[in-house]
């Protein structure tokens, strides 16, 4: 469905020093700087796959998605999506894809989503009856009702996002490019959107590419993850392989009833910090259950948390260790 070979994108940005002198110098002799956003990325995606893009801010996720859907031109490399070169924006290609950006919107702000849906139905040449049926189906899945007939500006963020999804999927695209579709949504709404995407993928067999800063989105939806760091692809595969490679340890945070000395934690894992009653440990996942049982046995525990370290932090750490 998608093949990407040695794809790169370099943005040219004006380099301007701050202050009046900088402005004048910029005015007289424009200096430009190249920002390398995506470097030499290659991968292939089969029809029906759900693939997650992970990476820190500025890693190049949005840039990659935009190149895949044809919004921006690659600086070098080959992209083939659904048999098309995306940047040509051939109508047949456009009919088969959709792009949803969490922080941007296509619905007309002052009108109910229904009006925008009607326009989209016409633009994509969907017969009225088919459009009505799809709207009914999708709004059922998304749990949208009278919201569709209320002006967009009077909808909550979550309702608006769901309406945006509906509008973006009305033409039943085979390829979904979703850039942070759950941005700013509360946990419930995130869950709803996630379930919806899984269901859409199951029903239509659509290929879904997704970026998100919420790990939960990726873990719940994407068996396969592409990890991008500073424009380069450095992991392509199942998520658990990534987490075990990245995070061989779990973070355990304890709050004890009474302070305990550092020695008391020997054999329980690596002690990160110890401050009065608050303890941070790193524990090997294989021995996690054993360690937790021992902790509960040895100490009076007021509170206990087990976390995966944040993915962005892990990636940074990995880079510092030079293991890439």
């Amino acid at each position: 469905m998608i093949t990407v070979e040695r794809l790169s994108k370099t943005y040219r940005v004006a380099d301007k020093q701050p202050g009046l002198a900088g402005t004048l110098r910029h005015f007289l002799r424009r200096r430009q700087r190249d920002v390398s956003a995506v470097r030499d990325v290659s991968f292939a995606i089969a029809p029906g796959e759900m693939v997650g893009f992970l990476g820190a801010n500025g890693a190049g996720k949005t840039t990659t998605l935009k190149m895949l859907c044809g919004l921006i031109y690659p600086s070098s490399g080959q992209v083939l999506v659904a048999g098309h070169q995306p940047q040509r924006r051939h109508p047949d290609f456009l009919r088969r894809i959709t792009l949803v950006m969490g922080q941007k919107q296509q619905l007309i702000w002052d009108l109910p989503p229904m009006d925008s849906l009607r326009v989209n139905a016409a633009v994509y040449g969907i017969p009225d009856r088919v459009a009505s049926r799809r709207i009914a189906e999708l709004s059922d899945l998304l749990e949208l009702g009278e919201e569709l007939t209320r002006p967009v500006r009077k909808l909550s963020l979550g309702q608006r996002m769901k309406a945006e999804l509906l509008a973006a999927l009305l033409h039943e695209p085979e390829l979904l490019f979703l850039d942070e579709p759950t941005l700013g949504l509360d946990v419930n709404a995130q869950l709803r959107v996630r379930q919806f995407l899984a269901e859409y993928n199951r029903r239509t067999g659509a290929t879904v590419l997704l970026t998100s800063h919420y790990m939960a989105d990726i873990t719940a939806l994407c068996p396969r993850v592409l990890l991008i760091h500073q424009g380069q692809l450095f992991h392509d595969g199942p998520l658990d392989r990534l987490t075990s490679r990245l995070a061989p340890e779990r973070h355990v945070r304890l709050e004890l009833e009474e302070p305990a000395p550092a020695e008391a934690f020997s054999g329980l894992g690596r002690l990160d910090s110890l401050e009065n009653c608050e303890v941070n440990l790193r524990v090997d996942p294989a021995s996690l259950t054993r360690v937790l049982a021992q902790i509960l046995e040895r100490f009076e525990v007021r509170d206990l948390e087990v976390n995966d370290p944040p993915i962005d932090q892990l990636i940074g750490e990995l880079f510092r260790q030079g293991s890439l």
């Binding site: 921006i72 109508p91 950006m101 919107q105 296509q106 009108l111 009006d115």
Partner: protein
């Protein structure tokens, strides 16, 4: 059949939604319609002055000219650059570029929707004008009216294409909207909004005829008011401008989108 992605059904859906959209702004549009009374102010200025005799139009004809100028302006006003600027800023342009419809059609539709919303207000203002100046009342012949309508639409098309040209330049520099303001000055003087073109010295008139400006207000207003006017020359010039501008706009837009895509959309 689709013309740059457009077909009859899309026209209907776009016009319907844009009319509904503009109705949300009817209060603003009523104010815009009111703010278009410049021709009436000019009329009252000219009426009280000795210079009136030099305008080439006598009493009632001058009243009718300025009322017609008002109406033509009402239905050929273009604000596409500003809507475009906002869309580009808010990132709405990107999804539009990914739909199988030329984005310019959306702006055409919103202007037509706005004109429809404006209609009752413009008619109301014309009604008030006749109450004050009953001697100027006239009903154009059906043929004359249809011709005037066509001329007004052509004027709208020229103005729209001119602004689309400027909007396309926005892909290179956000400051391009300043060009719109720059164009406004010659438009004000040479379109016939302040005075009929015949008020200018013949040398100026000869020169101005080679610009698009007189075909934006002066020509359609004369057709509407029933002034004797060279129809073939006027429509010919309008058509020539459309034919000249259209490919230019399409080319520049294409190049602009290409640049936008290179810059990062």
């Amino acid at each position: 059949m689709r013309i740059f992605g457009l077909n009859r059904r899309i026209v209907r859906a776009l016009l319907g939604s844009q009319y509904a959209h503009m109705l949300e702004y009817r209060a603003e549009i009523a104010l815009w319609a009111l703010s278009g009374v410049l021709p009436f102010i000019m009329l009252s200025l000219w009426s009280g002055s000795d210079a009136r005799s030099q305008l080439g139009l006598d009493g009632v004809a001058l009243d009718r000219y300025f009322l017609s100028a008002f109406l033509v302006r009402q239905f050929s006003v273009v604000w596409m650059v500003y809507a475009f600027e906002e869309d580009a800023l808010l990132g709405r342009l990107s999804p539009y570029l990914l739909q199988p419809l030329h984005p310019l059609w959306r702006y055409v539709a919103s202007h037509l929707g706005e004109q429809l919303t404006r209609l009752p207000f413009a008619a109301g203002i014309a009604g008030v004008f006749f109450l004050i100046q009953p001697q100027a009342f006239w009903i154009p012949s059906l043929g004359g009216f249809l011709l005037a309508w066509l001329a007004t639409w052509m004027a709208f098309a020229i103005a729209f294409l001119l602004q689309s040209l400027i909007a396309s330049l926005c892909f290179w520099s956000e400051k391009a909207t300043a060009l719109e303001r720059l164009l406004f000055l010659p438009f004000l003087f040479f379109s016939g909004l302040l005075a009929p073109l015949t008020a200018f010295p013949p040398a100026v008139q000869d020169w101005v005829r080679w610009t698009p400006f007189p075909y934006l207000i002066d020509f359609p207003a004369r057709v509407l008011s029933g002034d004797p006017v060279n129809l073939a020359a006027g429509f010919g010039a309008q058509l020539a401008w459309v034919v000249l501008l259209l490919p230019l706009v399409l080319l520049l837009w294409r190049a602009g989108v290409r640049r936008y895509s290179a810059m990062g959309a």
